[in-house]
Symmetry: C2
Subunit: 196 residues, 2 copies
DNA sequence: CCTCACTTTCAAAGATTTTTGAAACAACTA
DNA sequence: TAGTTGTTTCAAAAATCTTTGAAAGTGAGG
């Protein structure tokens, strides 16, 4: 209650002055688009919307502001923020004289996509690769009964190997993008652009 | 009923001889892994499983074989096959003297991922880009009231532009991979590998 | 134009995922 | 320590997505 920026209810022209009608509309649209996109990518719509809101608003918001803006429950807001924080897409912030916790979204789009890539790789690709290797082991020791040509098993193994090899390649590409100086994709883009 | 390959029930050693215990197990595992992976990527588990089965078995199967192997209903099998066919991941095949329709999965992994990329781009990225451009237009004609510096709107537009620019870049990268001679990603990999 | 052998469709059922809201929890202040 | 303010948790409710199965559709032969 000591900060001038958080004045009572809406109505009167507080800091973010009048002409912000279009701004509001623009923000709302962005939130919807991002939410839609997220849910087609397997990310809960609300979580994506919270992220979108924090990104597009640009400055930290607290839980109540998020709840009001997106018309969601406290529990939902809290869970979404927790996930976003776990992912590293959102960080906590505090304002002097305000006990509420504020949340700020990462503003560098490259970093945002690096984080998403890192997490998806870790949670989705890596476990799949491990499972595929186990799967490969099932028909692996084929030398054991190679006196019986067993063509079916061999071609099965070939198909499996092709798939594993491909996914490992994607995996290491993702590594390149995610880790070193973080310039991996930018570099690739440049090179690819030149080469084609 | 005229082909020797589609003999009555299971049991007796038909063409794919005995020692196929491990083969079966390997196929089943692959199907589960792929189904799991698909569903974390927003693709219905069953659809992914049908695709996995056809890929890993390598030769065309008919609807009944798929139903039996995956223990799914006729409707589900039909719908999954339709989607896979729409995507271009599966093609129809026929066997002489058999009126049943057989389905074969694309066997080239690069082609598989090119198809997936093409479809996801078309169905998910392109509409998002269009919507984002519309969204940008909402706060677009900012010259109109530039006598009022309106910093909020300007920084909003900057954030939006950064995001749009990034997604357009991803979009054109996807194009490179998908379209020309289809060697786009392979090329990128080579260059990236050399450069890092 | 009827039948047979399949395939596709789609409303309802079932499964899964997401959201809610109220209670438990935590961290300050007086 | 009690009182406040704010955050997290989680079981149940709601929403969403997937599968089923029976009926409608298709088309090749006869």
């Amino acid at each position: 209650m000591t900060t001038p920026s958080s004045t009572g209810k809406r109505s009167s022209r507080s800091r973010p002055a009048r002409a912000s009608k279009a701004l509001r509309e623009g923000q709302n649209r962005f939130v919807s688009i991002w939410g839609e996109m997220g849910s087609s990518w397997g990310i809960p719509r609300t979580m994506a919307e919270v992220h979108a809101l924090l990104y597009i608003v640009g400055e930290p918001l607290n839980t109540d502001q998020i709840m009001e803006r997106l018309a969601i429950s406290r529990g939902s807001a809290s869970m979404s923020l927790k996930s976003l924080h776990d992912w590293g897409l959102v960080s906590r912030a505090h304002k002097r004289g305000d006990r509420k916790e504020y949340f700020r979204a990462e503003q560098d789009v490259w970093q945002v996509f690096r984080i998403i890539t890192r997490e998806r790789k870790r949670r989705e690709i890596d476990p799949v690769l491990m499972a595929l290797h186990d799967c490969r082991d099932v028909t692996g020791p084929r030398a054991a009964e190679l006196d019986n040509p067993e063509t079916d098993v061999e071609s099965h193994n070939e198909r499996l190997d092709r798939m594993i090899e491909f996914i490992e390649l994607i995996d290491s590409l993702a590594d390149q993008f995610v880790s070193p100086a973080g310039k991996g994709l930018q570099l690739a883009v440049g090179l690819l652009g030149k080469a084609v």
